[in-house]
Amino acid sequence: MLLNSVILVLREVLEAAMVVSLFMAFTTVSQQSRYFLLKAIFLGLVAGGFYAYFLPEISNWLEGIGQEITNTMIHLGIFLLLTGFLWLISSNIVLPNRLVKAVMMGAIILAISRESAEIMLYISGFRSDHFLMQSVLSGSLIGLGIGVSCGIFLYHLMIALKPAAATKFICVLVVIVGGSMMSQATQFLIQADWLTSTEPVWDSSHIISEHSLPGQLLYALMAYEATPTWSQIVVYLTSLALMILVIISARFLQGQPKYD
């Protein structure tokens, strides 16, 4: 039970930790206070609590596909906020601008809400079993610890760079995370039967299995699928292209941005 909790919590934490550490690094590079990000983390946990609490009702919406549609909305929301973030900073609108803060906070709240809801539901399942609860809680704490450490590692990796390079690196990672969000949203729409399911285009599970550690890390970073469908690939590439287009056009309209 201990190891299982470590893996489950780590998987959930990694994805949210990516978004948080990216924005933490951006705030540090911009020499601004990180207080608003802590507020967003707290609000994300509160939202996650609500999501977990109302999940039985939410699941029943839309004839039983409420959960898929809510998850699609969350992922789409993160994508739009990340795209907004790219537009703003490429237009040379930087911190402490309130709109920049708002899109950063929104993305963190959404990212944390879904991942934390799953962890809360998982742990709450053991509330009547005190014996198992102990190992589940220790496992979850270890998983949380490893996930947060990965985030801190990424954070230090980014702030070790020069501000201009760090901002570019953050933008690249934001684009990758944004693409991953849209790929997951597509997956949920297929699961809900709102998008037609098709045969997988390829099967790379013999090279990198989704069960393996590299597979899991790649999943957290860029929603790696060993057996993706056409719709996922098309949506993934289109969203990457869209975000790059947003960066280029914002720069074009604004002239060359100054990073420092």
């Binding site: 299982n4 489950l8 699941s59 959960q67 799953e118 539901l121 399942g125 053991f126 699961q191």
Partner: protein, 111 residues
Amino acid sequence: MKNVFIFTSMLLISLNSYAAPPTFEILIKDHLFYPDELIIPANTKVKLLVKNQDATPEEFESYELNREKVIPGNTQAIIFIGPLSPGVYPFFGEFFPKTAQGKIIAEEEGK
């Protein structure tokens, strides 16, 4: 006008029944799946009705099927899968993976 309405409704109803995929039930009880091997027709979209009879939540997950869905305790969930090529597709309960293991076997009809 009335006829148009009746015709449209009939068309919609018939389309709906035509589109309704076959449903298969899976039970979750004591952190086990019943059945733990489910045979479904290959190349056909099917609707899984997963009933969690435990008080604890479970997450139906499968890397091979690309599916994940949290099913709170004492509730049921719908998961659409397929059309699948013939083969074996393992799934598991992410919250209790030691015991909650199963597989979908997609078989061509007549075999």
